[in-house]
Structures are given as C-alpha cells and as structure tokens.
Amino acid sequence: MQASFDPLWRQLLAGGVRRRPARRYLAELKDHLDDLIAEERRAMNDPREAEIRALSRLGSFDMLAEAMIERREFQTWGRKAPVAAYLVAPALTLVAVTALTVVGVVMTVKQVHGPGAGDLPSWVSEFATGMMFFSHAILPVLLAWALGVVAFRNRSALIWPACGIVALVALGGTFHPTLTLPTATTHGEVAISPDGVAGFAVLLLVAALPYAALTLWRATREHA
C-alpha cells in the first residue's frame, strides 16, 4: 500500500496554494514518508503497521494542509486579492486591448486615407470590421475563458470568477465600439454603443459556458 496524496493536493489548491509550491510540497512529503516507512520497517516486522506509524508521524492531511495554507507567500493572487485578480485585472485588460485595437484601426485608416483621397480600399474595411468584431465579441470571451481556466485549475471559490465573467461581459457589451469609415465625402467616426439584451445574453452564455461546464463536471466527478 502507498498512501495517496490526492486529497491533500485538493485541499491545498482549494486553500489557495499555488500549484508549483504545492507540487514541491507533495514531492518532499512523499520522500519523507518513504524515509519514515524505511525507518519504521527497520524497527518492526509488520510492513502495514510500519506504514500506518509512518503516516501518523508525517501528520494528518488537515494539519499538513493548514501549515501550507496559512502562509500567504504561497497563495495565488486569486486567493490573496480575488477582486484584483478576477475583476479588476481582466476588466483593465479588456479596456486596454480594446482601446489599443481602436487606436490601431484609426491609425491604419489615417495612413491609407490621406487628405483628398477617394474611397478606402476594401481590405481596410474588412480589416476594421474584423478588428472591431475581435474587440467586441472575441476578446471578452477569450478573457472570460482564460479567467475560467485559471479559476478552475486553482479550485477557486465560484463567487469571484463568476463575478469576473459577468463583469467582462457587461463591459464588453456596454462599451461596444463601432467604427464608421471615412469616404471621399464624409469623415470617419468611432462611437460607443451598448448591445441589446439578446447580445448580452449570447455573450454571457458563450463566455460562461466553459467555466460552468468544467465546474459542473468536477462537482459530478467528485461526488460520484
């Protein structure tokens, strides 16, 4: 028999310990347990009893988990500062990348559409449309998926990742940049217009689906 450290691994992650220190901790605990078993076996004939005594000397999983969880330096940002990690940082990333995308498109249009120029070439229109679609529909979804994967891997409590996904969708849906390209006779324009309810709902569904599915899958598997 060799003890499984899986429950301790789950306790550590659920307690907010980062994966790397948790992995190293378990590796050293396993080595330590091997040494303890070898020592106990030298002292007694019953290998099973030797392993039980070795495990007892190592400490209970609750005690071992607590010793690591209470040390803030090994915790994830999602545990130390959930608001910053799951709400502020993704929202700021969305705003910053959206702003950069819009600026990039405007600069490109300005380069191509000089004073006295005629209609824009079709590739500019396609490029601008693609970039606007990316910043409005793809970027919030990608950020929400990334947030969901991080939260899932770290076994974070549901509340903050869920709030973060909703915030990303709200932000992405509310500040929907639309671009009107200049023609030979009119100026171009960048405007911000919120989506309708259906737009929000679709965005929320797509953004939240992977995290919801992963969480449900884990809950089902662990309760089975």
Binding site: E28, L29, D31, H32, L58, M63, L64, M68, E73
Partner: protein
Amino acid sequence: MATTNPSFMNGVPELLVLRLLRGREMYGYEIVQAIREETGEVVSLGEGVVYPVLHALERSGAITSERRPVGGRSRIYYALSPKGAARLTELTALWSRITGAVQQVLVGGGRAGLV
C-alpha cells in the same frame, strides 16, 4: 507520540531549523530527526510541517536549496545563507530575552511578584 501545542510553537521551528543548518547542509527528514533528537523529543512536530517552514525560509533568502542524487534517489539539501545567519543571530537574541523574562516570572521575581 503527541505533538507539541502549536500555539506555543510560533517562530520556534524557524529558529531550530536555522540553528541546525548552521552546522551543515541537511535534507528535510534529517532536519526533523535532528530536532527530535536534540530536543530530547520535547519539540515534536507533525513531521511534514517542516516543509512549509523550509520553503518560506528559502523564499525569504534565509536558506538555499540544492537537489542532489543520493543512493539512487533525489534529495533536496538545505543550507544556511548569510542572510539566514544574520536572522539566526537576531532570533536567538530575541528568544533569549523572552525565555529569560518568562523564567523570571516563573521563579517569582520581577514585576509579576509585586502584583
């Protein structure tokens, strides 16, 4: 074997680990056995609890670690750094002051005897 009451142990594992590593490099199992032996088993931890202490000390720069193959296995050896040596001096002085003060109270001298 009963473990020592954790509330009395704050800072003690750090002090013991730094002191033990002053003499030579050791790996986790060796450190725990040394603590047991040198304290006459008065200080007895859940043995695995030493690793968060070691990892925190390493992170703070007080000790360093190196993985080495020994007898077909890979072990992580810990060594005291100059920063750890300074920390040990500081902790030892603090510990001496605290134990001296507690001892003074226990033998009935000092201000406690006047209350």
